[in-house]
């Protein structure tokens, strides 16, 4: 009896409404992309949670490493002028 094979791991991203952002919801195992798409529909949109589905093979995802976190992300924390809350608006100025 050979080794068992449960298929390839796919990561699933769902777009809840047209125009919305694709959000990672979890993963699944499937043997080919048609099966993966059907499984994603059956698994992650049973309660009509989706308008669009993206699938990426787990092995194709490039992820940042924790040890780089400081160098990769921290410098941006100094640049607080990028955030709208940094600026004080004159009284009376609305919706800006």
């Amino acid at each position: 009896m050979g080794k068992d094979n449960q298929g390839v791991l796919w990561e699933v991203f769902i777009q809840p409404k047209a125009g919305g952002t694709y959000k990672h919801v979890g993963s699944l195992h499937a043997y080919d992309k048609e099966m993966a798409m059907q499984s994603a529909r059956d698994l992650y949109t049973r309660r009509s949670e989706g308008n669009g589905i993206w699938l990426v093979k787990g092995e194709d995802i490039v992820s940042s490493q924790s040890i780089d976190d400081e160098a990769f992300f921290d410098p941006a924390n100094d640049k607080i002028y990028r955030h709208p809350t940094f600026y004080k608006m004159p009284d009376g100025a609305k919706h800006i």
Partner: protein, 313 residues
Amino acid sequence: MEDADKLEAFQAKIDDDIKIEPKDWMPEKYRQNLVRQISQHAHSEVIGMQPEGNWLTRAPSLRSKKILMAKIQDEGGHGLYLYCAAETLGVKREQFLQWLHEGKAKYSSVFNYPTLTWADIGAIGWLVDGAAIVNQVSLQGTSYGPYSRAMIKICMEESFHQRQGYEIMATLAKGTVEQKEMAQDALNRWWWPSLMMFGPHDSESAHSSQSLKWRIKRESNDELRQKFIDKTIGQGEIIGLTFPDPLLKWNEKIQHYDYSPINWDEFWNVVKGFGAGNKKRLQHHRKAHEDGRWVREAAKAYADKKSFKQKSA
């Protein structure tokens, strides 16, 4: 960074309620604890499909059949979310299944009890799922990111399960004399196993204190068990059912129910494999796995052929 420093930084994250993600450094024991807990949680969901699946073909109304089918499907889905969360820790699904089949992995022993009547389906939904909900709501705050997210998703889907079970019990309790007896009998048989789902008393649990320190668990076994009892007794009383515990009594001073000591001998026997359904559950799972081997092999072979064709095109 030295391991001691890493450990300190790790604990600081935990204490600050910052989630640990797959890419983060973690103590080996933390990783092992989670590999065990998450995969066993997954196995429980999948094995749990069996006792309910037993009555799917005998569901006595179209509505209850539809709802039960959807519930069982949900359970399978929960197992899936959990296997995927467990895989982020570097162990493949094939390995989890192998450990299960070799008897090296456990699953919640409550699913080894047999479902003998339609009322058992009601009792499982109301009590077993009810207990699971108390546990899972607490686990939403678990420190490991993927596990926490899986729990949040599961909790959103779980409340319909408990309502389904309770509705069955309520219908039976106000039905014919035989139906009411059926409901009471099921409650009598499933009450203690549901309480035992929360695990041993904290004083006797091997993994408890480290799990709490690392916030894998957020509340103790006894705290969760008490929560479940306190909210369930009233539900039973409303539909006219009694609980199989002569010492069950509301304690005004501590604002909790007092209850009889649990028979842990039965619990450990079932965990060790002597329950009525133990062998049966695992055999069923192994058989489905073996019967389906040729299908998985075919799916893989076809995918390989297709991808080879595409590469040569």
